[in-house]
């Protein structure tokens, strides 16, 4: 007997649980946009190459166009709609706004979700391809413009707002490094705990 090709699933998105039927072919991107009316997440290439559809899964950035919705059940999903604190913008959003880190704005939700994760990854000590010495004894590299460009290379901007995007990420990272500040808007383990399982529950 052929296995069923659709399922009823529950997705945990921005702290809310949504139960919905999905054809297994549905990507998380299409489920967000077409079934849940969360249209902040954008569809660009639909092939994992442009980053417009970037969301956070268990606190880590991922491209939702290559993530099957059915396989996202049990993960803690954060989209651009879940980044701000009510009407109060997240510092990364404010930095993009203040420094003109966009032109048309289509790639911006993906840029911001990616930037949130870049700041967390850097704070957790992750090296990048721009890091001269990856050995742990070499310490954490400074989040230089070169490091930001490499770490953000999965997000394309066809308007070419890269110069301002780099400045916005740098400013947001500086603010997040201040005592008492946190860049984390979401409700899951970030990159600081490699391999740590998500608890699947939202934190108030």
């Amino acid at each position: 007997m052929a296995p069923p090709t659709s399922s009823a699933i529950t997705l945990n998105i921005n702290g809310e649980k949504h139960t919905l039927p999905v054809d297994h072919r549905t990507t998380l991107l299409d489920a967000l946009r077409e079934q849940l009316d969360l249209t902040g997440t954008k569809k660009g290439c639909d092939q994992g190459q442009c980053g417009a559809c970037t969301v956070l899964l268990d606190g880590r950035r991922a491209v939702s166009c290559l993530q099957l919705a059915v396989a996202a059940e049990g993960r803690v999903i954060t989209t651009i709609e879940g980044v701000a604190d009510g009407e109060r913008l997240h510092p990364v959003q404010q930095a993009f706004l203040d420094l003109d880190g966009y032109q048309c704005g289509y790639c911006t939700p993906g840029q911001i979700c990616s930037a949130l994760a870049v700041i967390e990854e850097h704070a957790a000590g992750w090296p990048s391809a721009a890091t001269a010495d990856v050995r742990p004894e070499a310490g954490v590299p400074e989040l230089s413009a070169e490091e930001i460009r490499e770490r953000m290379s999965g997000n394309l901007c066809r308007c070419g707002a890269y110069v301002s995007i780099v400045q916005a990420v740098a400013r947001a990272a500086e603010e997040a490094a201040q005592p008492g500040a946190s860049s984390r808007p979401w409700q899951a383990d970030g990159p600081g705990e490699p391999g740590a399982p998500a608890d699947g529950e939202a934190v108030a």
Partner: protein, 330 residues
């Protein structure tokens, strides 16, 4: 996309049983390559077996000093791991040079080993391709092949393997472990990828129905001084047009041990054993490095538009071994 069933496996035995029961089944790790190929119709599985919940997400040092890397460890966690960065820096560099931060968070070690070539004829279901449709021909040989193989190819396929990670693994003698319904098995990476020959559609020596459970990296003190250098057409987020994983142990100007593996030149990561043999016991000099590269690249067979890769690899060998010689002297 063809409709498909979906099952999430709880344990390795359950995943292997599901795989054995359905020849149309495929394993789903991060999905960064498989889902993309399903969208274009290159892959048409009847059932996806999701392995994300399998307990294969650990990196552990064993009593014999080897490093065990689980199959569902993400590329991000592999590259961030302190033991990997300390003991095999070229492996961390190779993984960091691949894809984007988003894709590295999704992609798994097992899936990375099994990712498919990005040859434009393979990924276009309307084109002939011996790898996708055996016997249909290889348009790349007389067509677009500036990024195709110069070593180990055949008249049936000239595609290159896209993985950066696997190049570093080849240099460090990694062993792939797997599970089947008949029990466990393992394959050294040198035997994991099959020669192209007349059967480019047969890519690995994994038995049918096998689930990769992980990798074993044997202790390799030489790997502590190692580097991965990747050349590509833009500075980031692109596949290699040529790459090199290298490790070097030099004492008193003499090469004690050396590891060299080339990427983006063959259907598999290319361990450059002829070059290694030429270097052992000899001087650590630019002339010796160039001669060793030439010894390996003497077997190169170039097509009209990919001959540049011979000079590229030769220059990579000289540059990276020179840097490693200087690093070892510090």
């Amino acid at each position: 996309m063809r409709e498909f069933g979906y099952r999430r496996a709880d344990d390795v035995q359950g995943a292997v049983a599901l795989l054995a029961a359905d020849p149309g089944a495929r394993l789903l790790g991060g999905g960064t390559n498989l889902v993309d190929l399903m969208k274009t119709g290159v892959e048409r599985p009847a059932l996806l077996i999701d392995v994300q919940d399998l307990p294969l997400d650990r990196i552990e040092v064993t009593a014999d000093g080897a490093l065990h890397i689980g199959a569902t460890v993400t590329n991000s966690d592999l590259a961030a791991d302190p033991e990997v960065r300390r003991r095999y820096p070229a492996l961390a560099q190779a993984v960091l040079s691949g894809a984007s931060g988003q894709l590295r968070n999704m992609a798994t070690v097992g899936g990375n080993l099994l990712q498919r070539t990005r040859c434009g004829y393979f990924t276009d279901p309307a084109a002939p391709c011996n790898k996708r449709d055996p016997g249909s021909g290889c348009p790349a040989i007389g067509g677009e092949h500036h990024n195709h193989a110069i070593l180990g190819a055949s008249a049936h396929c000239v595609a290159v393997h896209p993985s950066d990670m696997a190049v570093a693994l080849a240099a460090f003698d990694a062993v792939v472990t797997y599970e089947t319904s008949d029990g466990p098995g393992e394959l050294p990476l040198a035997e994991f990828y099959l020669p192209v020959g007349r059967t480019p559609h047969r890519e690995t020596a994994l038995p049918s129905g096998a689930l990769i459970t992980g990798l074993r990296l044997p202790p390799a003190p030489v790997a502590a001084v190692s580097r991965y250098r990747k050349v590509r057409e833009r500075a980031s987020f692109a596949f290699a047009i040529g790459s090199l994983a290298a490790a070097l142990d030099v004492r008193d100007g003499t090469v004690q041990e050396v590891r060299l593996a080339f990427g983006a030149v063959a259907s598999r990561p290319w361990r450059a054993r002829a070059a290694e043999r030429a270097l052992i016991g000899g001087p650590a000099s630019a002339e010796a490095f160039a001669a060793a590269a030439d010894a390996e690249l003497a077997a190169a067979e170039v097509l009209p538009h990919n001959g540049y890769k011979v000079a590229l690899l030769r220059n990579l060998v000289v540059a990276v071994l020179t840097e490693l010689t200087e690093e070892a002297a510090r």
